[in-house]
Symmetry: C2
Subunit: 250 residues, 2 copies
């Protein structure tokens, strides 16, 4: 097993750069950290380029590491490539997966300009739980390979196909297919409770502050709101997504 001691090693420098979107896009790879995430990634071994282990760490005996590239590193190297304060001592470099086809998707989540990484990660985790087939991220949405997104997705990034796409074309295409597209809006909408669950739907959620783009909302089948019974001005976007996806699933 290769052993890397110096934080100046070119590999270490490149791994650190994976905390930038630019390097991730240039290489088609991203970095994950921690036992839970690496274990999730190991379920589809071919996506893993390297597992990086700090030398003081013992990996679980249950992990099948046949044919996986392993790199042993010092605690200092691990600290240098980590973006957490107390690294767990295990990381991996993974290849981005592009879904072969999106045609079989019947439950789709469209995400317009969600900017908080924690929100996007929680939305991905929630979409996974709610049986969504695929997620489309429009321009202006935070990169889903951002390490905070990956962390709050709790591994669901590895379960659910996620692509970047033009939301307007996606809505047009669903309209042609006859799949209902539900936008979310505080104005001019109908209460989500008036909508019946269906096997096929597309839900469109938007930015934390400004909501879904007005141009997109004009193309949807219907726009939904969640009633506010108390004095809160609004719901967090991930919470709203959870309520709507579980309602639409039926």
């Amino acid at each position: 097993m290769e052993r890397i001691e110096s934080v100046k090693n070119p590999k270490v420098k490149q791994w650190k750069k994976l905390h930038t979107k630019k390097e991730r896009e240039a290489t088609g790879t991203f970095i994950i950290e921690g036992f839970h995430l690496v274990e999730e990634a190991l379920k589809k071994k071919e996506q893993i380029r390297d597992i990086i282990v700090s030398e003081e760490v013992n990996l679980p005996a249950t992990w099948n590491l046949d044919q996986v590239n392993m790199k042993l590193v010092t605690k200092d190297v691990m600290k240098a490539i980590s973006d957490t304060e107390t690294p767990q001592g295990v990381a991996a470099i993974c290849e981005m997966q592009i879904p072969k086809s999106t045609e079989s998707w019947t439950k789709i989540l469209l995400v317009d300009s969600v900017q908080d990484p924690g929100n996007l990660g929680t939305i991905i985790r929630t979409a996974d739980a709610a049986g969504v087939d695929g997620v489309v991220l429009g321009e202006g949405t935070v990169d889903h390979y951002n390490s905070k997104v990956i962390r709050s997705s709790q591994g669901s990034l590895f379960h659910l196909p996620i692509i970047k796409g033009d939301l307007l074309s996606w809505i047009d295409q669903q309209n042609e297919n006859g799949t209902p597209v539900y936008g979310t809006s505080l104005q001019n909408g109908v209460s989500y409770k008036e909508i019946s669950p269906s096997a096929q739907f597309c839900l469109l959620i938007g930015n934390e502050g400004s909501g879904v783009d007005e141009g997109l909302l004009q193309k949807t089948t219907k726009n939904l709101y969640i009633p506010i019974y108390g004095e809160a001005e609004s719901l967090n976007v991930a919470i709203a997504t959870g309520i709507l996806l579980y309602h639409l699933h039926g």
Copy 2:
């Protein structure tokens, strides 16, 4: 208006200490920051001890500040008492409010050992939106006057009565009243979809990792789970709370 220039001023030292639970409990006060939160607090002026303004900041002309104690401070003093990286330049010292009576509460949320401040804040905001009358925090739950909790509650802390209490006694009391108490549990529960909405209910949610305490779950009317349709292991506790509260509200 009193003007404070030195970070060594005893008032400044005391305000800084309000970022600790100990000082908050000793004084019965807490500190909030930012325009939105101070504006929410101003809706019930009598709870405000002081509004603290950085001298380079202009307050909105719409704020009615009659009979409010104002302190003008330097940018450095504001930075010293703030726990955000880029302070907005306005803060307030507020008095904790204890609800006079809890007898009229018909929709109650019981919180067992939720530990992440962001989760608790989002739960409070969601409970507010969903029309909950009051929230009871059991032992082991993060202090709701923690500044991260306040920030993610988005002001709902000022709308909704929140108390600390013994959850076992609360459950016993609801059982005596005939109010259904719904625990949340991945094991031995019924799907929440089998439960009809009702005007009166008590929902019990639990810790991010270990869920609701087993002893409490044995005292409930029923324990609910949210079906997982995909591969996610679980839902975030705030997301689960949103789905359940909106379902139970009907």
